[in-house]
């Protein structure tokens, strides 16, 4: 059943900026009702933060836990839909800031909210094939939402990073299996040179998020011969608080297997970092020997679904870097005007 040959998560790191805005504050500005908000609050990048800086933070935590020699890292993949440059890689800045030597493969990826798991899958392939010894996969976003659009309530900022390599006896987890399920589905997009994305409203639900997510999970379970009851945690992409539970319901997954990997209510949809941060939260809480199914979703559209098994190294390594809940707890609330400044939505020239 081990379709992925000998790939381990040696270190993991999540990063959430310090700033938060309450959904009710956004609702206040646009005159929406408080009782129908998709989440409670979302994270907002600091004025000096972007995908590159957040990726560096997450990678530093992941490297602390991995405890490997950065000079042996052979690939850095950064998945995001908000790379600071349209042309000029994010990954090269990240790698140099981490002291990773030039002899590595650098790739920036974009697939809406799926770019982070894509990075994981590609790094896993490079490790498994023996092309590289270690690699880092990052999902990071400072997601855009047009002011007053429904997305503005959820589009958030965060990063998650995973150091992958062969099992070394001290690994956090192993990646056992992965499937992808993608189609051409125009549910959400951002054209070149546009500042904000557009979406097809409810079309992003059934034919997009649910169809791809559920299909990917079903394929993963079928290929591995596992049942829902064999899995300890399911982590889904979580564009809002409802969707992961609705997907779980379709798949007949009990709520308690989903709860630990849901962080969207307090940090929002961090796009490429979204389901990876859910995995980070689960790793912060899981015991060795547990099975996790991580399933991303990216508009456009597609899902990657991973079977991950936690290992003995997890408990030794967990406290080598701040837990996700610690980062989430250092919340500093800002109002909508400050939010506009942080998100560079105020024209000053």
């Amino acid at each position: 059943m081990s379709r992925v040959k000998d790939v381990a998560i040696l270190g993991y790191g999540g990063y959430v900026p310090r700033y938060r805005i309450r959904a009710s504050e956004i609702a206040r500005v646009w005159g929406r009702d408080d009782d129908a908000l998709p989440i409670k609050e979302k994270s907002v990048n600091g004025i000096d933060e972007d995908v590159i800086t957040m990726a560096i933070e997450a990678c530093k935590y992941a490297l602390r836990r991995a405890g490997i020699d950065v000079r042996r890292i052979g690939a850095v993949n950064v998945g995001s839909e908000s790379h600071p440059y349209a042309v000029k890689p994010s990954g090269t800045v990240v790698a140099e800031a981490l002291g990773i030597p030039p002899t590595h493969l650098s790739a920036d990826l974009e697939f809406a909210c799926k770019a982070g798991t894509e990075a994981m899958q590609m790094i896993a392939g490079l490790v498994s094939s023996g092309l590289i010894e270690y690699g880092i996969a990052v999902g990071a976003d400072t997601a855009q939402g047009r002011p007053s659009d429904a997305l503005e309530f959820t589009a958030a900022a965060g990063a998650a990073a995973f150091v992958l390599g062969r099992s070394n006896g001290d690994e956090v987890a192993t990646i056992e299996h992965v499937v992808s399920y993608v189609t051409d589905t125009p549910d959400f997009w951002r054209r070149a040179h546009e500042r904000y994305p557009r979406h097809a409203s409810r079309f992003t639900g059934e034919p997009a998020y649910f169809h791809h997510t559920v299909s990917a999970v079903k394929a993963l379970l079928e290929e591995t011969g596992l049942k829902v009851s064999d899995i300890d945690y399911f982590v889904f992409h979580q564009p809002n608080y409802k969707f992961p539970y609705a997907a779980a319901k379709v798949l007949q997954i009990p709520k308690e297997k989903v709860d630990p990997g849901v962080v969207t209510n307090v940090i929002g949809n961090t796009y490429a970092a979204c389901s990876p941060l859910g995995l980070v939260r689960v790793l912060d809480h899981a015991k060795p020997g547990q099975r996790i199914v991580l399933t991303s979703f990216g508009s456009g559209a597609g899902s990657d679904s991973f079977l991950i098994v936690t290992r003995e190294g997890l408990e030794r390594k967990r406290n080598l870097a701040p837990l996700l809940d610690t980062l989430i707890a250092r919340a500093k609330y800002i109002d909508y005007a400050q939010y506009l400044r942080h998100r560079d939505k105020i024209r000053t020239s």
Binding site: G46, I47, E49, D50, I52, E57, S349
Partner: protein, 135 residues
């Protein structure tokens, strides 16, 4: 004239700005932050590349209310005087903190942040700042 940001200059200096890489004099121990041929203190040519630690102690701090062309959009921002374990001192921006939260003697950690950007189309300069330790 707007001096802006020179990509070449930032590229030359990136190892110091991204990783606090310095040249330590093998003879007298002095830290030389920028590339140079001889130690500024003893003129020794034995300079060894080294990364300063990521933790430092905050000695004093202030808040810059109005700044230069390329930094002004981020103003006001905090600036601190920090000291590493070996006594080397550095002046750097502080981040992820309010003025009121800071205390002399606090332990701070290095993070890489956006330092400045040259308008909407120019390069972005990333570099070290310090923040209260997150643990």
């Amino acid at each position: 004239m707007r001096p802006g940001i020179r990509p070449q200059e930032h590229w030359r200096s990136k190892r110091f700005r991204y990783m606090l890489e310095v040249l330590r004099c093998a003879n007298c121990g002095t830290v030389n932050a920028t590339r140079r041929s001889v130690c500024r203190r003893c003129r020794s040519t034995s300079l060894v590349r080294e990364r300063l630690p990521e933790r430092a102690r905050l000695l004093a701090f202030t808040e810059v209310k109005s700044a230069t062309d390329v930094h002004d959009e981020m103003a006001p921002y905090l600036v601190g005087l920090l000291e590493f374990e070996d006594g080397t001192r550095i002046v750097a921006q502080l981040t992820d903190a309010d003025y009121e939260e800071l205390r002399p003697g606090m332990e701070m950690e290095m993070v890489v942040r956006k330092i400045a950007q040259d308008g909407e189309s120019g390069v972005i300069v990333y570099g070290f700042k310090f923040r209260p330790v997150v643990s």
